[in-house]
């Protein structure tokens, strides 16, 4: 592929000085900053491509006549339309969602109400959580999914969990200035996945309370932590997929916080859900790197004692996982 030469040798027309003056007042246009996560994002996308490669190469090896290819494409389109219609009427459940659902939900913390808030409050050095979270950049909202993109929607539910747990953590240690940007992105993400309006309305009220500065941080933290129960109730009538994905998001964030403050007991307690998290991420077709990171965390958790080095390694792995899931 060689770039095409300009298709017209004529010189460019003169610019209108008046209009040029208006645009010059804007200053130089943005040129963009190379993100430090670019490599990770590209790697993750390549891993997803690789997951599809065996299918494509199998198709490429077949020397099928043109009519068969047309029929195959037609069938695929018809199937796509059917599935897409299914998504319109309700997200298709993850395979196997109905089988182990009650157990899976319990493992990920359904038995305990306000799990995220309580878990974080019980961590040693909980007062430093807010500072830890505030030092990190806010996850960006996912772009609106165009057409058939259930994968992107599922990842968005994981991000909702991560953002919520982050927002709750900002109240531990009074880093309330870091709450608002997280709530903004949380709202945008909920809008992107067309979440029930009760959830967005609740967060709008939360934002008003936060900006009003009339209530102490404790009261605001309690108000926000109730969102977890509201979320689970809002999706109670569906397959449970949205709830499980949300819980994976809160799990990753809570584990990362527990590792950051060096809390082995909390890591072991929360780590009991790792098999379920792995199952959900596998169904999500998460990059191999994410599953590898999870396996390494599992390996560390199985050790009889967790040393400071183990916890530090676990923290690094969890941060990597957060980066991949928040991509």
């Amino acid at each position: 592929m060689i770039p095409r030469q300009p298709n017209h040798p004529q010189p460019d027309p003169p610019k209108d000085p008046e209009i040029q003056g208006w645009f010059q007042a804007l200053g130089p246009p943005p040129v963009g900053q190379v993100s430090t996560a670019l490599r990770t994002h590209v790697r993750a996308r390549i891993a997803q491509e690789q997951a599809w490669l065996p299918i494509w190469s199998w198709l490429a090896r077949r020397t099928v006549p043109a009519w068969a290819a047309v029929v195959a494409v037609g069938l695929l389109l018809a199937l796509g339309v059917q599935v897409w219609r299914g998504i319109q009427w309700g997200q298709p459940p993850l395979p196997g969602a109905h089988q182990a659902q009650p157990l899976a939900l319990d493992v990920l913390g359904a038995a305990r109400r306000l799990h995220t808030y309580r878990f974080q409050a019980e961590l040693p050095h909980a007062a430093t959580l807010g500072t830890l979270v505030a030092a990190r950049p806010v996850l960006s909202a996912p772009p609106p999914a165009v057409g058939f993109a259930p994968q992107a929607t599922r990842t968005a539910f994981v991000r909702i969990g991560m953002l919520f747990a982050e927002a709750v953590a900002t109240f531990h240690g009074d880093a309330v200035e870091a709450t608002a940007p997280r709530l903004d992105v949380l709202l945008q993400t909920l809008t992107t996945v067309q979440a029930p309006s009760t959830l967005t309305q609740y967060l709008h009220v939360m934002q008003t309370l936060l900006h009003g500065q009339q209530y102490p941080a404790d009261a605001l933290a309690s108000f926000l932590s109730l969102f977890e129960s509201l979320y689970e109730d809002a999706y109670a009538q569906t397959s449970g997929e949205e709830v499980r994905l949300f819980r994976v998001g809160t799990w990753v964030e809570n584990m990362a916080l527990a590792a950051a403050v060096g809390a082995p007991t909390a890591l072991r307690q929360e780590g009991q859900a790792i098999a379920e998290v792995r199952r959900v991420l596998t169904l999500l077709q998460a990059p191999h790197e994410a599953l590898d990171a999870l396996d390494q965390i599992d390996h560390l958790l199985r050790q009889p004692t967790l040393t400071a080095e183990d916890i530090s390694n676990m923290h690094r792995l969890l941060q990597h996982l957060q980066q991949m899931l928040g991509a």
Binding site: N7, H8, D16, F23, I46
Partner: protein
Amino acid sequence: MDVDWQRLPEPEYRWEVVSGLMQDHAKAVLQYCTTRLGEGLGAEVTQEVFVAAWQQLPTYRPEAPLSTWLFAIARHKCQQAYRNRARRQAIDRLCIEEIRARTHIGGPLSPEGAITQASQVARLAACLTQLRETDRIVLTLWYWKELPVSDIADVMGKSVAAVRKQLLRAQQRLKELMNDPPPT
């Protein structure tokens, strides 16, 4: 960059090559895409460029330098973005947002000068929103991003003559709007 062509079918080796390309050219590719598509979408398409490079490396023939080949992919990805309706709308939206964000930029101006400039920028943004989507894009690429007409034609998938004609029409319309008294 030395590439062992025999090993290009190996996915892991291709990743090594793409990592090297990212190290050397990520900034330039991002700048290329951001100029044409705006900041957020530019970053997204930059990722797609490197993923496509990884996919297409086995078909690369060393007649052209690797960087030229990479920019050909970037050019193609930007053209694809313009052809996609949802993305074209995002490009248009981003361009207005970027202009609106400039309302708050300070500079070595007197307070009165800064206010006049801010109101002019706000007015420019307001007038641009009254133009057609493609007119807005063509004016921004020509006057702000300062792309040559041939590049604008290339990325928008039009002929140079068509872009020149569109520029004339869009300029005229923008001047009419800017010189109209603002609504009270």
